[in-house]
């Protein structure tokens, strides 16, 4: 049996899933000040239903880190930067406690300027004296050479052993120094709280269901073990939308181009699935106004939901964006989008007379019939959703391209299916799909798609290696991979093998070895390094990943 729990901002959903069926789903309001308590109360109900059966895996999606970062309640954390030459230091407005250090590395990992040990010690002392004990260290091109970051880390650890120190090359290895610095900064800021939470969960689950594997859902729709999450708490942000999208994919199960529309009370969340894989935000997750190196789904949230208020203003029909309460048919004071669809499609939701009465008043003010009004509201909702979906296609199609091939074979999004989730989806999604000329998909498990998505999502892991045969080095992410390449005739195949070996090693460390065989190559670049018409070496960038998907035992829903 499998358990998935999604701790959302308002509700916490949990499912107990076995052999294609949801045996029990549980929904509790989330106690923001006691996430652990909420989570355990849901878990206990699910475990009670499981009885003596073996729960093999429990996956949790939580808002703990998202809340800490979004509300600015993270503890004071110092950011030590080694930017070297380039943008002015004023470009790095990340932490109020930012310190700049000497030291420079170039794109091939060569030292341009050495760090100054004395300066490092002075800065660390200042940090310590201002009562800060969390430190993030980030240097430009530290992903190509981590020596300077290591040196600062070593000084900090030996001088102030009580400090939490994170280095950026360990957290994220891709190019983009500001995003690496931010990701490292947020990691240092949340690590202690996350570990406290992980300790609590580990002990609680250990006592209740000691044989279960405990995984955490990440922003990229994959899971990681609770243990591995301790080093990278930031990866757990925005796992709620990831859970929903993984849930819709688990239910629809086909390698199609689809759009998933989660229609809630106040907002609708739209995400794209391209050939069966969810679309990521191309620039990484945006947290607290800063871009990060965290892979997260490209989710567009629009202020339009089932509870959006419908009213008249200066002779015009208005739909949303405010929510003043539930639909009139469910006892609300104002008519809503749900009321309109209730009448239009004869849904028989709650007190249909209340829908009729409240909408009639608006229709009267606009001088149209009730039927016309409902039709107009439906058109407006469908149009707005369609427009947003098409803008998302457009943004995806307009991503920068760096190769001739990519421009000549320009990508074009061809939609196959609209997948609906959320309570209002059955009323709205069929109309939207019909308008867009594609099929729609709704499932009886849609209301618990988020928890189900968490329950069956498989682990993900991406490894990128950068090989410089001229300098005989390789570096890689995540986790500050590095080493030397000895082979003289090192080729792309060797780089691919190296990346896969690194991934295997990393997946072993993280307890994900079962899925290492499913890794595939997603990035492959090679360049000849030519100086004066002769070849001095080659540069390779190879990325391999276990992409988001489902665990082996998941075979679809019955």
């Amino acid at each position: 049996m499998l358990i998935g729990i999604d701790v959302g901002g308002t509700y916490t959903d949990g499912v107990l899933f076995s052999e294609g069926s949801v045996l029990l789903s549980v929904k509790h309001p989330t106690e923001e000040n006691d996430l652990e308590g909420t989570l355990l109360s849901v878990l206990d109900e699910l475990l009670a239903r499981a009885g003596r059966a073996d729960v093999r895996r429990i996956v949790l999606s939580t808002t703990l880190v998202t809340n800490l970062l979004a509300t600015g309640r993270g503890e004071r954390t110092a950011l030590l930067l080694l930017p070297g030459s380039g943008l002015p230091f004023s470009a790095y407005r990340i932490s109020p406690d930012t310190y700049f250090l000497k030291g420079g590395i170039d794109f091939r990992g060569r030292q341009i300027e050495a760090p100054d040990a004395k300066e490092v010690e002075e800065v660390l002392k200042k940090v310590h004296d201002s009562g800060i004990d969390r430190v993030a260290v980030a240097g430009k091109f530290s992903n190509r050479n981590d020596a300077h970051e290591r040196m600062v880390e070593d000084r900090a650890r030996s001088l102030y052993p009580h400090m939490d120190v994170c280095t950026s090359n360990e957290i994220a290895g891709r190019l983009n120094f500001p995003r690496r610095a931010v990701t490292c900064y947020y990691t240092a800021m949340t690590m202690r709280e996350w570990n406290r939470f992980a300790d609590g969960i580990e002990a609680a689950i250990g006592a209740r269901s000691p044989r279960s594997d405990v995984h955490i859902l990440k922003a990229d729709g994959g899971t990681t073990t609770l243990e591995a999450s301790r080093k990278r708490p930031c990866e757990t942000v925005f796992s709620g939308p990831a859970a929903s999208t993984m849930g819709t994919m688990a239910l629809s199960r086909e390698s199609l181009n689809a759009v998933s529309v989660d229609i809630g009370g106040t907002t609708s969340d739209i995400s794209l699935v391209i050939e069966g894989l969810p679309l990521y935000a191309s620039k990484g997750a945006l947290i607290g106004g800063h871009l990060t190196h965290i892979n997260s789904f490209a989710v567009r949230s629009i202020p339009l939901g089932g509870d959006s208020r419908v009213y008249e203003e200066s002779g015009e029909l208005r739909v949303g964006p405010m929510r003043l309460g539930p639909a009139a048919c469910l006892g609300g004071a104002e008519p809503t989008v749900t009321d309109a669809f209730n009448l239009l499609n004869g849904l028989g939701l709650g007190n249909a007379d209340a829908s009729r009465e409240k909408l009639q008043a608006v229709a009267g003010r606009l001088g149209v019939s009730l039927e016309e009004l409902c039709g107009k509201i439906a058109d407006e909702v469908v149009d707005r959703l369609e427009r947003n979906i098409e803008e998302m296609f457009g943004l995806w199609e307009d991503e920068p391209a760096y190769k001739v091939w990519e421009v000549v074979h320009r990508r074009k999004f061809e939609l196959h299916r609209v997948i609906g989730i959320g309570a209002a989806a059955p009323a709205i999604i069929p109309m939207l799909a019909a308008k867009m000329g594609v099929e729609h998909f709704l499932h009886r498990y849609s209301p618990v798609a988020n928890a189900l998505g968490a329950a069956v999502a498989r682990p993900t892991l991406a490894v990128e290696v950068h090989v410089d045969t001229g300098r005989r080095t390789y570096t890689g992410s995540p986790g500050g991979l590095k080493g030397t390449v000895e082979k003289r005739s090192f080729q792309l195949e060797d780089a691919r093998e190296l990346a896969l070996d690194c991934l295997k090693e990393a997946s072993r460390e993280r307890g994900l070895a079962d899925y290492a065989g499913e890794a595939h190559v997603y990035l492959e670049e090679q360049f000849n390094v030519i100086r004066g018409f002769t070849q001095e070496g080659k540069l390779f960038d190879v990325g391999v990943q276990i992409a988001p998907g489902f665990i082996h035992e998941y075979k679809g829903v019955a």
Partner: protein, 448 residues
């Protein structure tokens, strides 16, 4: 404040040959530097997606022999398309200025294209200029070519166009490819003085170039009053460039762009792929976006390393005086040329295509029109790389063509069709935006 538009198209899958300077690696470290700096994430910068130029876009400028498809690589079509994307972004006021960091380059490509010259198939800036004129009705422009090599292609294309002020500063043609760009090359008889060349001695420094900027380039732009300024932004004046011998720095380039304030900059050459390009490209973006670049420097930058010699400064000062006078005389000279009352002005020349070792023979006749800058008739022959020999006849109407020239040019084309001589006959009708090719052997005509 609006952002600076940037399009970065490194053509990571295209090279002239594996070890050629124009190879995949050329913008690799620039990519690393730009991405690592995260400059595209800044609110001051907006990144754009490339597109392909069409055969019609190319035909507004060039006569590709025998046709665009078989002559021009897809890489060049993307590169020119990128320049057009930047033009759109600028004209539609999405950005305050725009920089196309693209390869392959274009400024050695001339009107007639038989093959690749100086790493260029087609002229990215010229394709963009005619697109700007056609789409947005722009008429007067200035192109400042800051590449170390003389922009002989751009010069040739706009030679007879008095509405384009083409300024090229470059290492003296006696010491570097393409061996042209001397002070006496001032434009055609009806566009005299709107081509200005500034040949500089090898090893000229930031100081020299900024003197030229302040005392010649900027005053000319002030007086010419173009609607748009384009920087044909080569980066091979850098002290570390392997193909040239100048002593500019990345900061020098940044300051240059701060002074020039180009509306659109388009990357041309620059082959110091590790030591110069990453820093110069950063510097140009920062200067155009108004980001402080005082922390930007090459790894081996030393502010005291290069000092301009007194002798070279003397030369530069006299060069500036001389060319400013030539520029200011332009209207007088054009008037005198018109008064000569010739019907056509003819000239002949040979053009060498260094990349492919081709030799083109060309004759050009310009109509000395009393009302406009005249239309051009070009006959050209060349043995192509394939061994096949082509002889073609081209008729080109300027964008600001008078009705009389337009009628005569179209009549010339119809007459030539009846008594064909060469292999192909072309009509470049910028007024109707119609580009005709007539294949003599088959009698087939195609129109773009």
């Amino acid at each position: 404040m609006k952002p600076t538009g940037v399009i970065f198209f490194p053509a990571f899958d295209w090279a002239i040959s594996p070890t050629h300077p124009e190879r995949e690696e050329r913008l690799l470290y620039t990519r690393d530097q730009l991405f690592e700096e995260g400059i595209m994430d800044m609110p001051e910068v907006r990144e754009y997606h490339p597109r392909l130029a069409t055969a019609k876009d190319v035909s507004r400028v060039h006569f590709c022999v025998p046709d665009v498809e078989s002559r021009v690589t897809e890489a060049h079509m993307v590169s020119a398309g990128c320049a057009m994307v930047m033009a759109d972004a600028f004209m539609q006021k999405e950005v305050k200025n725009a920089f196309a960091i693209i390869r392959p380059p274009g400024h050695h490509a001339m009107t007639v294209v038989h093959g690749n010259r100086g790493f260029c198939d087609i002229n990215n800036e010229a394709v963009m200029v005619e697109y700007l004129r056609r789409t947005y009705g722009v008429r007067r422009l200035a192109i400042v070519d800051t590449d170390v090599h003389h922009g002989d292609g751009s010069q040739e294309i706009f030679w007879d166009d008095p509405d384009v002020l083409f300024i090229s500063f470059h290492q003296d043609g006696r010491t570097l490819y393409p061996g042209s760009g001397f002070t006496n090359e001032l434009g055609g008889p009806l566009a005299h003085g709107t081509t200005i060349n500034i040949p500089m001695a090898p090893r000229t420094t930031d100081e020299g170039i900024h003197y030229i900027m302040d005392n010649l380039v900027l005053p000319m732009l002030d007086e010419f009053k173009p609607e748009l300024v384009i920087n044909s932004a080569g980066q091979d004046n850098h002290y570390s460039d392997p193909l040239a011998n100048m002593s500019f720095t990345a900061r020098g380039y940044a300051i240059l762009n701060q002074k020039l304030r180009p509306d659109i900059a388009v990357l041309e050459g620059g082959y110091s792929v590790e030591t110069a390009l990453p820093y110069i490209n950063m510097g140009i973006i920062m200067a155009m976006a108004g980001i402080d670049f005082s922390n930007l420097r090459e790894p081996d930058y030393n502010p005291t390393r290069f000092k301009e010699s007194a002798k070279n400064m003397d030369y530069i000062r006299s060069l500036v005086t001389h060319q400013l006078a030539a520029f200011r005389e332009r209207e007088k000279v054009v008037e005198a040329n018109r008064k000569e009352g010739r019907e056509y002005y003819g000239s002949s020349r040979g053009i060498f295509y260094d990349t492919e070792y081709l030799q083109e023979e060309q004759r050009l006749d310009l109509r000395m029109c009393p009302d406009c800058c005249g239309y051009r008739r070009i006959s050209s022959s060349c043995v192509h790389h394939s061994g096949r020999s082509y002889s073609v006849f081209c008729i080109s109407l300027p964008a600001a063509c008078c009705p009389d020239c337009a009628a005569r040019a179209r009549q010339d084309y119809e007459d030539m069709k009846k008594k064909p001589g060469g292999d192909y006959l072309y009509l470049q009708d910028r007024i109707e935006d119609e580009y005709k090719t007539f294949e003599t052997r088959t009698g087939r005509e195609t129109t773009l």
